[in-house]
Amino acid sequence: MGSIETGDEGLWRQSLLGQGDAFGALYDRHRDRVFRHAYRLCGNHHDGEDIMAAAFLELWRRRKHVRVVEGSILPWLLVTTTNMARNRARAVARYQRLLNSLPRTQEDSDPTADPFRRYQNQLDQDLAQALATLSAEDLHLVSLIVFEEHTIAAAAAVLHLTPAAAKSRMHRARQRLRAALDGKASAQNPPTAPTPVLEGERP
């Protein structure tokens, strides 16, 4: 992944000069990760798309404030996605008309019909709820470090934290998240443990 992200700065600079193709390339490059992150936070496919779209629209609208960290705009995008997901109603409102006007493929099947997808949905919802218990800053840290495998230093840079502060916050956030997920696991007894999403926790 590292090598793919080294090119952001050039594309970003060209985007700022008005080259739509460069911005399109950035979109192609980061779309899926931003979408997965948005989905993780809201547990709903449609909302995940809206949040992903809003994050990219914000990337452009707030372009003067974007911080390129370690050659990548992804950390900034992910933080923005997190903010969007936490304040979904308010954040997406700015783009609601545009989002509604964008065409979508009709859903060909009911997601709840497939038992696997039903469990998967439940797991996704559980995780989204557990993540919702974190403070904004902790959620940013977990997103960047656990899910997207950025270094603590990079996460600290984009969040205006010292690396030491980021590290201790991260430790506490992991404990909180584990507690939230364990509580759900025992209460609802899902067929599989929801812990794989925390695999990034391994040292």
């Binding site: 050039g10 600079r13 060209q14 985007s15 000069l17 008005g18 080259q19 739509g20 193709d21 460069a22 911005f23 399109g24 979109y27 192609d28 779309r31 899926d32 979408f35 997965r36 989905y39 496919h45 798309e49 992903m52 779209a53 990219f56 629209l57 452009w60 545009l98 964008l102 065409p103 979508r104 493929t105 997808r117 998967q120």
Partner: protein, 304 residues
């Protein structure tokens, strides 16, 4: 999680919206490069453009064409980052500095008077990495400064030249004829027909075929795009006449294709003589020769 993908229809529409926003917010110069005319007229018979060399040699002169005479040997230098190229004192009779810039890496390269050119990584090593200008001479100006980011590399070739635009001629019917130049188009525009014959097309017919006439009627970008869309992949032929404007000697074809530029290949000799001077902030990205960039249709300016 493998069912977890962004809806392609939604994604494509979003992507189009994003790129449109970026282009819309672009600085004027950058926007001009890629505005409405994503696909420009591609002119048949373009390979014959090398014939312009004959003009430079003074053998034939198309009325209204520009004669560029080099007055000093060219200076070629390669730099990385912002640098100034010294040309020495201009010889007698110098009217401008002809420069050609090749991007050796991606970056934005600004010239004097606010003109600039941006190269993508994809442009490097292709004909698209080339930009040509003729800058009118300012007394005391003996150097060219290219401003760019510290890591951007470029190669410049510059020389003092004398440029002179000749007058259009008039035929027996009172129609002016000659090459398009900074004064606009004569009644009959010099072209090379598809059969290689040099001749003239009526400006009115040319403007109907290349969209210049239609462009004036568009009230919105959507209209222009629809017009362009309708012509995509089609050819429009107009008759080429000799100087009398009565005898047909061939035909001139304008074809519309997406994203292509009118002139391809090594552009330097073809571009050398077209616009002799540039106003403040004006760039002339010659390889394009598109209506957007020059205000003229993608028509070569051949010698007689």
């Amino acid at each position: 999680m493998n069912q977890l993908h962004v809806d392609n229809v939604f994604s494509d529409a979003l992507r189009a919206e994003l790129t449109a926003r970026v282009e819309k917010a672009a600085p004027v110069r950058a926007r001009k490069r890629t505005r409405l005319w994503a696909g420009t007229a591609v002119v048949a018979g373009i390979g014959v453009l090398g014939g312009v060399g004959a003009t430079a040699a003074g053998l034939f002169v198309t009325p209204g064409s520009t004669q560029v005479t080099p007055l000093a040997s060219p200076v070629t230098e390669t730099h990385t980052g912002t640098a100034t190229v010294q040309l020495g004192p201009p010889p007698e009779g110098t009217t401008g500095i002809e420069m050609q810039l090749h991007c050796l890496s991606a970056g934005t390269f600004s010239y004097s008077r606010g003109a600039s050119n941006t190269c993508d990584q994809d442009d490097v090593g292709t004909p698209q990495d080339w930009t040509g200008y003729t800058i009118p001479l300012t007394p005391g100006e003996e150097s060219i400064t290219i401003t760019t980011s510290p890591d951007a590399s470029w190669k410049i070739t510059a020389q003092y030249v004398n440029t002179k635009t000749t007058e259009w001629a008039t035929n027996a019917d009172g129609d002016t004829y000659g090459a398009q130049n900074e004064n606009g188009s004569p009644d009959m525009v010099a072209v090379i027909a598809t059969n290689g014959t040099r001749g003239y097309v009526y400006r009115t017919e040319l403007e109907d075929a290349d969209g210049t006439a239609a462009m004036k009627t568009f009230k919105s970008p959507a209209e222009a795009l629809a017009w362009q869309e309708a012509r995509l992949g089609k050819d429009f032929a107009i008759p080429v006449y000799n100087v009398t404007g009565k005898t047909v000697v061939g035909e001139f074809v304008i074809s519309y294709s997406a994203g292509n530029f009118g002139v391809v290949g090594e552009p330097a000799p073809e571009c050398a003589g077209v616009p002799p001077t540039l106003g403040p902030g004006e760039a002339w990205p010659c390889p394009g020769l598109s209506p957007t960039e020059t205000g003229y249709p993608a028509i070569p300016v051949p010698s007689n």
